[in-house]
């Protein structure tokens, strides 16, 4: 044995370990006594110095709700306990043609200027003038006769009235969600979508950007905020992180406190990693199979019924999606997300459509003429043309790919030739719009009422080739649903709304424009290492989602208190 060479190798190995050990002891992180909550609302490769509240590709995840406040924070889970924000009250006009907000007095922007009605009116006018800078306001556009909100009117310094095009009992949800912009800053911004807004001027509890780098940034206490007395958190920290494994590992190591990350097998991959790791996955929106009903065989109701009973949803829930999803009882497309709106007696006759029964599927198919005409082992259309279709899913969406494979096996068991087709997300996005596809597995949009799910799903405007919306990929017009939706938003009476919603549910169950699969979990993970006061199953005071689009998340953050050790 050549001793000299071994020595060289050995010393090399020692040197490597040495450098590592030296480095290990080196980064003595600056310890300060600030209370910092680390949350992870968005994945990124590098943080961008951009805090534009209406830029959806990142910044709004960090500044909306925390720096920029809405007028009103609806508590979707506990509607009676909602939270006034920049407005203190609102009144919907008798004829549902306008909504008047009373604004909070004494609120200051963090640069010292007063917040008042002029800012709100400006915000509306600004949204109207900058169509390519979506601020979440459904502005009425005369040329195309689309949209809802016609104007914002200043009644006095602290009263604003929004005028609507149509009677609309639901407009308050969208209007309450407006994030007013300070007129004295934004009036000068000519190209808002490309404005980086490096020093946010806002009214919320945390507005000061500190320690920006490509790998982390902090949003710190607004000294003029009215929340300061109760607010125990000095700074919110956002990290550059990407990939579920990295993110889970970061929480286990104590680097992150609050997540909304997809998990697989949490009892194995998540909770054992740290005694502080906790999760709760309440049922969220439904996942449906969107089938293109403009094409055979999907244009045949009997085929759609057979499709629905041929799918083994127990396997989808327990195995394909790792036991994290939940069953939905009725074929209405929204599952249990709006359980209070379900008329169980009226929907009882349709429950069989959600139960796995391959024999029944085969009977239905035989009866409707879907038999194997060419002897290739698969059923064909009644006119003899073969059936072979694809279920489109983006690459890497593991739970959906598993689900697609289960569905494809289920369908092949009853003689229907369906295969999974995965593609990259750009292609997947693109194909959806054209209207030229067989079927997609698809999420559903949500909101304060089921209207928010059904309106995009049945709006004929969302079914036009070239601009087909993800929610309306079935492309089946149901006039009774369209009318019921119109009637739903035209009344503020809960009972009248309930009647319309039941009509919608029955129409959907009767026609099966989409095939319900399961309810997605709402992803929520938290660490009890540094903070207490988290939303739990026992104390679900607000939706615990960390992402933008959940206005309550600021209440959640303000409810957290540091644990002293």
């Amino acid at each position: 044995m050549d001793n000299k060479k071994m020595k060289t190798l050995k010393s090399l190995a020692m040197a490597t370990v040495g450098v590592a050990a030296l480095a290990l002891s080196a980064p003595a992180m600056a310890q300060d006594d600030r209370v910092v909550l680390t949350l992870h609302p968005i994945d990124s490769d590098a943080l961008i110095e951009n805090f534009n509240p209406n830029n959806p590709t990142g910044p709004q995840q960090m500044v909306r709700d925390f720096a920029y406040e809405p007028l009103w924070i609806d508590n979707i889970w506990n509607p009676e306990e909602d939270f006034p924000a920049l407005a203190t009250s609102f009144e919907i006009a008798e004829d549902l043609m306008s909504i008047t907000y009373t604004l909070r007095e004494g609120v200051k922007w963090n640069d010292g200027e007063d917040f008042n009605a002029d800012d709100v009116v400006f915000t509306f006018e600004y949204a109207k003038a900058n169509v390519d800078y979506p601020m979440g306001i459904d502005v009425y556009v005369e040329e195309t006769d689309t949209g809802t909100v016609v104007s914002a009117e200043k009644i006095d310094d602290y009263t604003v009235k929004f005028n609507l095009k149509h009677p609309d009992a639901l407009a308050r949800y969208a209007l309450g969600g407006i994030y007013p912009l300070p007129e004295h800053i934004w009036a000068e911004i000519e190209d808002p979508k490309n404005f980086a807004n490096i020093d946010p001027v806002a009214t919320g509890p945390w507005t000061e950007i500190e320690n920006f780098s490509r790998s982390s940034v902090e949003l710190c206490r607004n000294e003029t905020s009215r929340y300061n007395e109760e607010n125990a958190i000095d700074c919110l920290r956002f990290l550059q992180l990407n990939g579920n494994e990295q993110i889970i590992a970061a929480m286990s190591a104590g680097e992150v406190d609050w997540l909304g990350t997809g998990l697989t097998d949490p009892e194995i991959t998540f909770t054992p990693q740290s005694e502080f790791n906790n999760y709760w996955l309440p049922a969220g929106g439904d996942v449906n199979l969107q089938i293109n009903t403009t094409k055979a065989p999907f244009n045949d109701l009997e085929f759609r019924k057979a499709l629905s009973v041929a799918i083994d949803r127990d396997t989808l829930v327990d195995i394909s999606t790792f036991g994290l999803t939940t069953h939905t009882r009725f074929p209405v497309g929204t599952g249990e997300a709006y359980a209070t709106w379900l008329d169980e007696a009226a929907l009882e006759p349709y429950t069989w459509l959600m139960q796995y029964d391959p024999d029944r599927a085969m009977e239905l198919l035989d009866a409707a003429g879907f038999v194997d005409a060419d002897g290739d082992g698969f059923r064909d259309n009644p006119d003899g043309t073969p059936i072979a279709f694809e279920i489109n899913i983006p690459n890497g969406w593991t739970d959906w790919i598993n689900s697609g494979q289960t569905i494809s096996e289920n369908l092949q068991d009853v003689g229907v030739n369906a295969v999974v087709r995965t593609m990259d997300q750009g292609a997947w996005n693109d194909k959806a719009r054209t209207g030229d596809f067989d079927s997609y597995i698809m999420w559903t949009n949500g909101g304060p009422t089921p209207y928010n799910t059904y309106n995009p799903m049945f709006n004929p405007r969302n079914m036009e080739a070239g601009r087909v919306d993800y929610q309306a990929m079935h492309q089946m017009r149901l006039p009774e649903v369209e009318e019921a939706l119109q009637a739903f938003r035209s009344t503020a009476d809960r009972d009248a709304q309930q009647e319309q919603m039941t009509a919608i549910h029955i129409a959907v169950a009767e026609n099966l424009p989409i095939i319900g699969l399961f309810a997605n979990p709402t992803w929520y993970e938290y660490s009890t290492r540094n903070f207490e006061g988290w939303v739990t199953e026992e104390n679900p005071y607000v939706r615990p989602v960390v992402f933008e689009g959940t206005r309550e998340r600021v209440i959640h953050a303000l409810s957290l208190k540091p644990i002293s050790r």
């Binding site: 590592a20 990124s44 195309t144 689309t146 590992a249 990259d424 997300q425």
Partner: protein, 324 residues
Amino acid sequence: MLYILRRVAFYLAAFFVAVTLNFFIPRIMPGDPSARIIASFQGRLNEAQVEAIRASYGTTGSLWEQYVGYVGQVLRMDFGISTVQFPEPTSSLLFYGATWTLVLVGIAITLAFLIGTMMGIHAAWNRGGFFDSVFTPINVMLNAFTPAVVALLLFYAFSLQLQWFPLGRAHSTGLMPGWNLQFVGNVLYHATLPVLSILIVSFGGWHLGMRNVMINLLNEDFVILARAKGLSDRRVRYRYVARNAILPQITSLALSVGFLLGGALVTEQVFNYPGLGKFTVTAIESRDYSFIQAQLLLLTMSVLVANFLSDIANVILDPRLRKG
């Protein structure tokens, strides 16, 4: 001289072809840059807004007009604005990613080249000896591993289980970049596992390359003559054999350095390292034309430049080429 001129002409032509391909490849893929922005609103946009966004972030004008504009941009070295992370200039993201890729892959290539070449020299010199018969097969095996497996194993064992090393990222959060011992040490500490994961699978290649060429040279007349003259082992090994055997290694090194700016895709993903590979994946997923184009261009240019330098190096090191 003629040789160098011929090479320059070739590189210019190659550059032009690459620039053209860079323009067309992303556009052949389905999907456009505005799709992701529109999708992120989950149906909350009305028609007018969708159209307005598409007009401002989608690409306007005919393909030919776009192409002319793009060539103009390339000549001015202006890479436009990233649509994924607007309004950040593409060049600033590219520079950021390139810095970390250079740190990560630069260290890995240098170490792999040095370790592999040294091991190759020793293995060839003591052909059939203990070192050769143990390490040559081991290195062949390591060389056949994919970085994905090695990176995941290292991540699992040393980051997740033993927690000796960080879970990823280029440096600790909250640490401000700067040329001080603390920051540099922190960067090296964070780079250790990612570098190892590339190093482990790549030094075997240098080892084998060096070993093979050395063994061929050992039977050459000039080596026999040198030995017959009674020159020291050391002198023959390094000055006579290794010096000649290193020529093809330099060419391969130039190629690796050229490809360096492609980033280490898998390693960067596993260790969440903010290098070019990671940025490129995101850019492709979201059809960020300006970033894809700029990154492909950077890669093409670095490969061409590295090749050109290796041509020159060969001319200097190898007198036979000077006549050509």
